[in-house]
């Protein structure tokens, strides 16, 4: 059958009330400095991974906080855990631990799914 080229666009709006922020809650609990991020982007600008791939630690932080977990899940493995981001963070966020905890939380999610 011919395709007519009609598609359904997924809404771009973040539905804050519908989203599940369990990843964020998990990180808040184990790394309270996660709350201190002011989205300056210092981490992303120094990030080696970010220089070569579509990876932004700043964006990852905020997506997790909004409960937009799918995109975060796709990107979380790109981080090489070098920790340069920690050196530049003006708010003293333990950014590397945030990534590690996010990986743990996604891992737990997988285990529950099985």
């Amino acid at each position: 059958m011919d395709k007519f080229g009609f598609t359904i666009s997924k809404g771009r709006q973040i539905d804050y009330d519908l989203n599940d922020r369990f990843i964020a809650e998990y990180i808040f609990e184990h790394e309270p400095s996660f709350r201190l991020c002011i989205e300056c982007g210092g981490c992303s600008s120094t990030c080696s991974t970010g220089q070569f791939t579509l990876f932004s630690l700043r964006e990852l932080h905020i997506l997790i906080k909004r409960g937009e977990n799918d995109k975060a899940r796709q990107n979380i493995r790109k981080c090489m855990l070098c920790g340069k981001c920690m050196l530049v963070c003006p708010r003293g966020v333990n950014t590397r631990n945030v990534v590690l905890l996010a990986r743990q939380a996604f891992q737990k999610e997988n285990e529950h799914a099985v």
């Binding site: 771009r12 709006q13 973040i14 009330d17 002011i38 989205e39 909004r66 708010r91």
Partner: protein, 346 residues
């Protein structure tokens, strides 16, 4: 020196100026259109950034103005100000004519009327309130929604009536950001189960200890800050307030339902100040506040010799700045009166 000074407005600036002028030996007439002195400070529960009780500063000002040289005229407004040689004849609403060697204008600010931003629904939806309304709730100790229940999810909108060409105010009121942070913290203390979201365009924490308060709001109180200007609020059938905002740091629109929406009303030139400008021939500037003679070293001087400006009738200021500005006005008055005295004797 037996000189008379009229101070118009008995808010923070007017009271500080009157008190200091009296200490310096001048006879002061302190004119206030409201029935009591104190100005906006009377309506504020706690002050930023140290969250002290507003009453403590009111009490300091009340004591400062308890001076035999100060005559307080409450419930009185100004009808006319005539200038004859070095004397200003100030006619009050009670028909009295006060002859002043110098006048200090301390007419302060009015809060932006939030109903003008109709898209936020103040005065239309039950659970949209202003920062001033919230202070009233703090004073009464009851933080409740229209139906009497405690709100669980609260949004705070920054820049209501500030930095907004649509309402004709291009300037930043500069105190609303820190007020929002302070009120968010207070809300979390009154209602520990609540979640609080601040919607901001920029966080302007440019005061002593403001940034620290912001950090504390994140770290200790778990308040969420979302960068984006709320475009509209609407009331859902369950009486909740639905807001639309772009989360500009994600780059995507966001929607959320809230129990209570608090609008951070900005500061505008007061209507009383505009009247004084008209009757005295004082110039106002681009933002409708009084125009100062020099932005850097003449912010207490108006376009008229002998009429001085103090406090937020010139620009948005916090209490610390207002008190300093009022003291600076007093120093200008003293210099001016000394120079006119010399001219007369010389």
């Amino acid at each position: 020196m037996n000189k008379n000074v009229v101070v118009i407005g008995a808010g923070v600036a007017g009271m500080e100026a009157a008190g200091r002028l009296a200490i310096a030996g001048f006879a002061v007439s302190l004119i206030e259109k409201q029935e009591s002195q104190g100005g906006h400070l009377n309506n504020w529960h706690q002050l930023f950034p140290d969250r002290r009780d507003g009453k403590e500063v009111s009490e300091y000002l009340r004591k400062l103005t308890q001076n035999d040289r100060i005559k307080l005229h409450t419930g009185t407004s100004i009808e006319k100000i005539n200038h004859v040689k070095n004397i200003y004849a100030v006619t009050t609403s009670s028909g009295e004519v006060l002859n002043a060697d110098a006048v200090v204008v301390a007419t302060g600010f009015d809060l932006f009327k939030s109903s003008r931003k109709e898209e936020y629904g103040y005065g239309i939806y039950d659970n949209v309130i202003t920062s001033a309304d919230l202070e009233g709730m703090f004073q009464s100790g009851k933080i409740i929604m229209h139906d009497g229940r405690a709100p669980e999810k609260i949004g705070i909108v920054h820049c209501v009536g500030s930095r907004d060409e649509k309402v004709g105010n291009l300037y930043c009121s500069k105190l609303c950001c820190v007020t929002a942070v302070k009120q968010a913290i207070e809300l979390r203390e009154y209602l520990p189960a609540s979640k609080v979201f601040c919607f901001y365009m920029d966080m302007r924490m440019g005061g002593s200890m403001y940034e620290e308060l912001y950090r504390e709001a994140q770290e200790k109180y778990g308040i969420s800050f979302i960068r984006g200007k709320v475009s509209e609020a609407s009331e859902a059938i369950n009486n909740k307030i639905k807001i639309k905002v772009e989360d500009t740091l994600v780059g995507r629109p966001l929607k959320m339902e809230l129990d209570l929406l608090v609008l951070m009303a900005g500061m505008e030139m007061s209507e009383g100040g505009k009247r004084i400008a008209a009757v005295a021939g004082l110039k106002t500037g681009e933002n409708r506040f009084f125009a100062v003679a020099d932005q850097h070293y003449g912010s207490n001087n108006s376009n008229l010799k002998g009429i001085f400006l103090a406090g937020t009738c010139v620009a948005p200021m916090n209490i610390t700045e207002t008190i300093s500005h009022a003291r600076a006005a007093v120093s200008e008055v003293i210099d001016y009166l000394n120079s006119t005295e010399k001219q007369r004797n010389g």
